[in-house]
């Protein structure tokens, strides 16, 4: 089938956000060459401007979409609200990360145009990952994100830890990608298609294809192996046990803005792709009964992973001496919490996971921003280096306490509502209390996490006031205070946010 010119023009129009992002990233690369020996922060502002333009186009597309039939660009990228939700999320996260890069006192001020280019390149990868029902483009997007992340993790290559982080990340990433592609190749061999909707049997494919339902009845073993391997690939991106080993070292060694990006943007991308994969394959109303039953089994596996991940993350976080490493393990634990919603395998569960991601965005970006400020001042990331600094930088420290309480999941912060929705989804009467044990596990884990989150607050406020003085950072403080206020405010006015996330989940016909 040859696409005609008209269809091409229409597809290009649908891909406008991606095209803008590619154009801005190329512009950054060229300007970095042309503006030699200049302050690189101008490039940062251009990147943020490009992200704002992309977000604007995405919002327009969000308004246009929403019907039961989704348009596709070049027969590969599906323009649905689910994809746009995650693309907007990525833009919002990346804008803050780029702002962090500009505020990072341990970073060079010039010759870092590649930094912005690689961050934007990673975003393009995420756009393809979360916006496609085709496994080929999914893998390409995942690789684009991964390859950009490897170089970013090693950006301070003169520092031993940073070089080590890049190396470990490459090896783990390469292995996990290999495992995932092997699983996808099995699935392709079994069904004859790479399109998830054709696999699910809700769309007609080209050539000889078989639905997943057929494959499950004929060769359950091969499908099981393929599923486990593909979930392994997703687990690596989401830093879910047993594919989380890279996370602490990479998070600790990478520059703090990159760590922020990995913990928020990259992780959300993994969840976006996983949610789409599971929803389209197993939950569509047109899917066969056998396939849905199979989806529930996959859900039980995910429930197990969720419990293991949150427990490992929390227990390891308690024993850390470095705040950055503690936040790394905390981000592993949060991947476990997010999986609780996924494991329910209901639309409500998936929406709860998406809502939790928004809450996670608000609290984790804030926590990393505070870490960025203090480590820029003290040159260290240990708990002890924070001693008494709460009296020197009160505004930023109070904001940190807000983020920590939100991360623990206590009211009156949005983290509480996020966890509440996850628990609600897991206690859905349709599940017959099958996930009750997981809810108990989640609550116990949250109690454990209180210990190490409050330890930061203890070092900030309950120690002798520090002798060192800290330099003010008005712009960063302003952003962090806004994030902290949003943490509180969005609990009180959560309704529009909740409705927006519900409206964004339009992958399947209910």
């Amino acid at each position: 089938m040859f696409l005609t010119g008209d269809i091409h023009a229409k597809s290009l129009g649908l891909l406008a956000p991606e095209l803008v992002l590619v154009a801005v990233s190329l512009l950054i690369l060229v300007l970095d060459l042309v503006w030699k020996e200049r302050d690189s922060s101008r490039l940062g502002w251009i990147s943020i401007g490009g992200l704002a333009l992309t977000s604007f186009l995405l919002l327009l597309a969000f308004g246009r979409s929403g019907g039961p039939e989704h348009e596709t660009a070049f027969a590969l990228v599906t323009i649905d609200r689910f994809g746009i939700f995650f693309k907007l999320f990525t833009c919002a996260a990346l804008a803050v990360v780029i702002f962090f890069v500009m505020q990072d006192r341990r970073e060079r001020k010039s010759h870092i145009g590649e930094y912005y280019f690689l961050l934007l390149g990673a975003a393009i990868g995420i756009f393809f990952m979360v916006g496609t029902n085709n496994l080929l483009l999914l893998v390409l997007g995942l690789e684009l994100l991964s390859l950009a992340s490897y170089s970013l993790a090693g950006f301070h290559k003169a520092e031993r830890r940073s070089a080590e982080a890049a190396m470990k990340y490459v090896i783990f990433g390469g292995l996990s990608a290999g495992v995932m592609v092997y699983g996808i190749s099995l699935l392709y061999g079994l069904t004859g298609t790479l399109d998830l909707r054709v696999m699910a049997g809700v769309a007609q494919g080209e050539g000889v294809t078989r639905s997943l339902a057929q494959a499950i009845t004929e060769s359950p073993g091969a499908v099981a192996i393929a599923m486990v391997m593909i979930l392994g690939g997703f687990s690596y991106k989401m830093s879910v046990a047993p594919f989380h080993f890279w996370a602490p070292d990479v998070y600790e060694g990478a520059p703090t803005p990159v760590t922020t990006f990995l913990a928020v943007g990259s992780k959300a991308a993994g969840f976006g792709a996983l949610l789409r994969f599971l929803a389209v394959l197993f939950q569509d109303g047109g899917a066969a009964e056998a396939v849905r039953a199979y989806g529930l089994q996959v859900g039980s596996l995910l429930a197990l992973l969720a419990a293991v991940t949150m427990t490992i993350g929390n227990l390891a976080a308690m024993r850390q001496e470095s705040v950055k490493r503690m936040l790394a393990y905390s981000s592993v634990a949060h991947a476990g919490y997010l999986l609780v919603g996924v494991a329910a395998m209901t639309s409500e569960g998936f929406e709860a996971a998406m809502f939790y991601l928004v809450a996670y965005y608000l609290m984790n970006l804030g926590a990393f921003g505070v870490l960025l400020y203090f480590s820029g001042e003290t040159g260290e990331e240990t708990f002890d280096s924070l001693d008494g600094l709460g009296y020197k930088a009160p505004l930023i420290s109070v904001a940190m306490v807000v983020f920590l309480i939100s991360l623990t999941g206590l009211p009156p912060m949005i983290g509480f509502l996020g966890k509440w929705k996850l628990i609600q989804a897991a206690m859905d009467p349709a599940l017959d209390g099958r996930l009750l044990w997981l809810v108990i596990c989640l609550v116990l884990n949250s109690v454990v996490s209180l210990y190490y989150y409050l330890r930061v607050a203890k070092h900030l406020f309950l120690k002798q006031p520090a002798e060192r003085s800290v330099r003010p950072a008005p712009a960063l403080t302003g952003l962090l205070v806004v994030l902290a206020v949003l943490n509180v405010l969005l609990l009180a006015y959560a309704r529009p946010l909740v409705e927006w996330t519900s409206a964004s989940f339009d992958l399947i016909l209910r």
Binding site: V77, I124, Y150, G154, A158, E218
Partner: protein, 215 residues
């Protein structure tokens, strides 16, 4: 005849792949890899994928292999036992080796089951191969530039990002690291805190060695 050749090549590919892992000298390892690539290319040819076979030889057998060999020769990577004057066993922990073998066997068995359960039963009778092979160039190009045109473009972005990433990691900083982190260099280095901002002695030594090679 074709079957016999297939089994021969499959055995050769496997033996060479094992050789890549167990060979002590990097050069032997790379040459085994070359053997593995070549036998795979012949398997592709037997299966009717002529273009794929040609690309396998050109890209992997040619370009990638030359790159590997050049790197090894330039960096003077020889047999570690010869260079360091010590002979260590290749596999230290027998338990870990067993675990690795077990995992490899499980993965292999999984693939085998998949093939036997699915492909074997539904295997079509061997038909006459079409004139231009199973992957005639025009059809491949048509599919790549129409149906998968977007994936093709995405791959180009991926390659660009990779090239920039490699440059970031490989290029040398023209200015000393002390200027990169002015704040840290102002403070007197305390013995308790590890000097993270200055490159370690090992890294410096490596840099000198690299310069020696390049000049």
């Amino acid at each position: 005849m074709a079957n016999l050749l297939f089994y021969l090549m499959a055995t050769l590919a496997t033996v060479c792949a094992i050789g890549v892992v167990v060979a002590r000298s990097p050069v032997v390892s790379v040459v085994s890899l070359l053997g593995s690539f070549a036998s795979l290319a012949i398997i592709y040819l037997l299966a009717g994928y002529q273009f794929l076979a040609a690309v396998q030889i050109l890209v992997y057998g040619g370009a990638v292999m030359v790159l590997f060999l050049f790197t090894i020769m330039l960096l003077n990577l020889g047999d570690p036992a010869v260079i360091h004057g010590e002979s260590e066993p290749l596999f230290h922990h027998s338990r870990r080796t067993l675990l690795g073998l077990g995992v490899a066997a499980a993965v292999g068995a999984a693939g085998l089951i998949a093939i036997l359960r699915v492909a074997w039963s539904a295997m079509p009778q061997p038909a006459e191969l079409p004139e231009g092979g199973l992957d005639p160039l025009d059809q491949l190009a048509a599919s790549m530039f129409t149906h998968y045109s977007l994936a093709f473009e995405a791959a180009s972005v991926l390659l660009l990002a990779t090239a920039v990433g490699v440059l970031v990691l490989a290029k040398r900083n023209r200015r000393p690291t002390a200027e990169v982190f002015p704040r840290e260099s102002q403070q007197p280095a305390t013995p308790s805190s590890p000097p993270t901002s200055t490159p370690s002695a090992g890294a410096q030594g490596q840099e000198v060695a690299e310069e020696g090679v390049l000049s």
